[in-house]
Amino acid sequence: MVDNVTITLPSKAEFVSVARLTASVIANTMGFDFEEVEDIKVAVGEACNNAVIHSRSDEYFGINFTVSNGTFVAEIEDKGYGFSLDHYETPDLNNHKENGLGLFIMKSLMDDVQVFTEIGNGTRIVLTKYLE
């Protein structure tokens, strides 16, 4: 049994919290514990930050939450500028930069992260967490 929740948001900073709250309510309903709900909230927030930061003007981005038998999946998709995964450097945790922690944080907090992106063609990030 698979349930889908889909929301479309303007690619603006002030709407990212809508996505975070939606993610946390869904995760909470699924039975994740407090810490896991926080992890999901932050990871979804980071993916949405990415969508907003790489957006063109007047754009929307979409999130699809899939709930199925103990698996939470959030798919965040935008049609913005995309970014180059080839040029992405895993943060050096001994030499912190002000940008670039988002993807690293997503990967640390979720069980699986898939990133599909291409310069000029937008980005899709798929975040998965399993209920123990």
Partner: protein
């Protein structure tokens, strides 16, 4: 969603005492950066950040703190993070930032 920045310069300890209330995220981090930098423009001192009521922080908020830390370090000063909630502590640990900020 929103961020309140309560600040006071302590003339005795010669440091900024700042309380952050709410969320340090993509919506509020621009203002956080501007306000912390403005404080340092006034006094390039140590800065104490009381995060007891900081309910949410992500990479955008952490990025601001990293930038501010780099600035104070050029004057051999420090940032002290106080009373971080468990979610903030977890992020500081994952990112290795617990090694460069003084966590109280």
């Amino acid at each position: 969603m929103s961020l309140q920045i309560i600040k006071q310069f302590n003339e005795h300890t010669i440091q900024w005492e700042v309380e952050l209330v709410g969320d340090a995220d993509i919506q509020t981090s621009g203002r956080l950066k501007d306000e912390l930098n403005a404080m340092l423009d006034e006094n390039e001192s140590n800065m104490q950040l009381n995060c007891e009521r900081l309910t949410y922080i992500d990479s955008t908020g952490l990025g601001v703190l990293i930038g501010i830390l780099k600035r104070v370090k050029t004057k051999e000063k420090n940032i002290y993070i106080m009373n971080a909630q468990s979610n903030m502590k977890k992020l500081l640990s994952i990112t290795g930032l617990d090694k460069i900020f003084v966590i109280v």
